[in-house]
Symmetry: C2
Subunit: 348 residues, 2 copies
């Protein structure tokens, strides 16, 4: 089969690799219908995370079960499935507490599995899925083509934006600020809207992203950043700050802004992997501003968000503004790296 | 009147000072029935916070209204009142959001008021109370003598322990760890119990404090600290960690322990003023462990906790193990500094 490997910074290649087969009887093999490129894939692409040797990449995909192991109970060949960006058994204490991203038997696509065997990445034609019952969420029927991008978005960006909104404690009627206008931030706007926020202030400098934010329910857009951005948000909230803040970037500046625009007693839900973030504990203490979040348990939210997509309540697939054949995966990375695209969808 | 001043490290004196009078028509003057010494009073006493000149000290008191300004609507002379450890108007947006400790018109006892006039401390015979309607919570009748220590505890330590439990999200049936066996930590145990925790693990090395913790509902006591303590708590929780953790110390080691014993997805509620605390954001992110809390809005919780004291549901006054006349305030500090007493009650 064909699969994507990253060889080093800026070096993305689609190559021939062995077809995966079932290894454990709890595995399934899934034929990928659609995959995509994540903002976090750009960390190694930009050399900000090291790449020591060529390796598989991609962690978001939807597809059809090609073969299920004898121990797989909830899935059969032909089922359309959504994969979250990590695999998990969904039965360990951390999974039962809803944090499947801390599953004691789980891990990342493209890494080694718990027995040291290599795992496929999501940007390929086929994927061996460990813990298939715990990992995959199926649809009763094959989805309409129009729903595929939104179902794919649940793999990561929508589940992650949703997590930010949930842990920041968004309640009906709230004023919410979303820091970050990448796909996750935009999905955070959609999540806050879906959770009943009355006012959603999106911080975004890019026209095309502002448009998606507004289509996702943003009532206000603040295009400034840093201290000026903080000032502008505080002005919009009568000097008080927001009831909940979603930090969807992961940089020190984004976190600083998020903490500054949270009203006393509010929580910053953060889901961007922290790069250079320091938490000013004394300032947080004095203002009673908390932080919650982390690596999103996308699996927890999949069943409900799947139903929301199928009912038309949410359309997170609108974050995909570039749709390419898998053969053009390298261009998909380039377009996102150069900010020509918000998010690239790939079709094997 | 007599009031307590701190002149420098280890130098506590009861001195003659002018009687307070009404300044604003929203003020009240309260005759103190009982006051106490706080763990945070020991920071300047030990020289860990600087004392630049002699100043009033003490921020916890209950008493009887001596005189109320013309603009005070909810109180009259003779009312028995509880003062939280900060004054607040209870009407600003932060107060309305339940964070009276961030009141835009509030502040600390012993400081200057918003107009630059000096304020009394709590460890004296009389206190001028700004924003009396917003600050003080009254009782319908005079309390029984046996309830006075518990009502006094609501000024700070019980409101603060309660805040830790609330922001850490303690739910019925939870396993909760309380780090710190000072009066706040012990009140945190009581709060977690009252909120329905099934298992409350108190981390305490001191026999007398362990006894109070058990009387407040601690089901387990862990006497070890640091990595050994973390190990022992994890062993008690089947390696998973606690559903909620209360950090009631404010040191780096206490926070490290608190974060380590929280299960993925849990929140550390922290209420000890941070001294040397660093928040390891990457570790928190990977484990989805959040932090919430800060300077407790004791005022928010006063009405409900007052009713709980009067009904006998809680008895936080058990943290007082030394009861002295105000004249012996210096000994009250020494006893706490030398850990001969958990908390000193003072009677003018």
């Amino acid at each position: 089969m064909k699969a994507t490997l990253i060889h080093g910074p800026g070096d993305i290649r689609l190559e021939d690799v062995p077809d995966p087969t079932l290894v454990q009887d709890t595995d399934a093999v899934v034929r990928v219908v659609a995959a995509c490129v994540c903002g976090s894939d750009l960390w190694p692409y930009r050399g900000e995370n090291p790449v020591h040797e060529p390796r598989r990449i991609g962690h978001e995909f939807v597809g059809v079960v090609e073969e299920a192991g004898a121990g797989v109970r909830s899935l059969k060949a032909g089922d359309f499935v959504i994969a979250p960006f990590m695999y998990s058994d969904n039965t360990c204490p951390n999974c039962e507490a809803g944090i499947q991203s801390a599953c004691v038997a789980g891990g990342f696509w493209g890494d080694e599995d718990r027995d040291g065997r290599p795992l496929d990445g999501g940007q390929g034609e086929l994927v061996r899925v460990p813990q298939a019952d715990g990992t995959l969420v199926s649809l009763r029927d094959q989805p309409d083509e129009e729903h595929v991008p939104s179902l794919l978005a649940l793999s990561d960006v929508m589940g992650t934006g949703w997590h930010a909104a949930v842990v920041s404690g968004v309640l009906e009627g709230d004023t919410v600020v979303v820091v970050g206008d990448g796909a996750v931030g935009l999905c955070g706007v959609l999540a806050a809207t879906r959770l009943g926020a009355e006012r959603v202030i999106a911080m975004s400098r890019h026209e095309s992203r502002q448009q998606v934010a507004r289509s996702f329910g943003a009532t206000d857009v603040v295009a400034t950043r840093g201290e000026e951005g903080e000032h502008d948000v505080l002005e919009l909230t009568a000097g008080v700050g927001a009831d909940a803040v979603l930090e969807c970037v992961g940089t020190g500046q984004a976190m600083q802004t998020a903490l500054a625009v949270a009203r006393p007693g509010a929580t910053v839900g953060y889901v961007g992997a922290p790069h250079g973030v320091e938490l000013p504990v004394r300032q947080m203490f004095n203002r009673n501003v908390g932080v919650a979040g982390g690596l999103a348990p996308a699996r927890q939210y999949l069943p409900a968000l799947r139903d929301d997509v199928l009912s038309g309540a949410i359309n997170p697939g609108a974050v995909f503004d570039l749709d390419l054949p898998l053969a053009d995966v390298a261009e998909g990375y380039r377009a996102m790296d150069e900010r020509r695209a918000i998010k690239t969808l790939l079709r094997p």
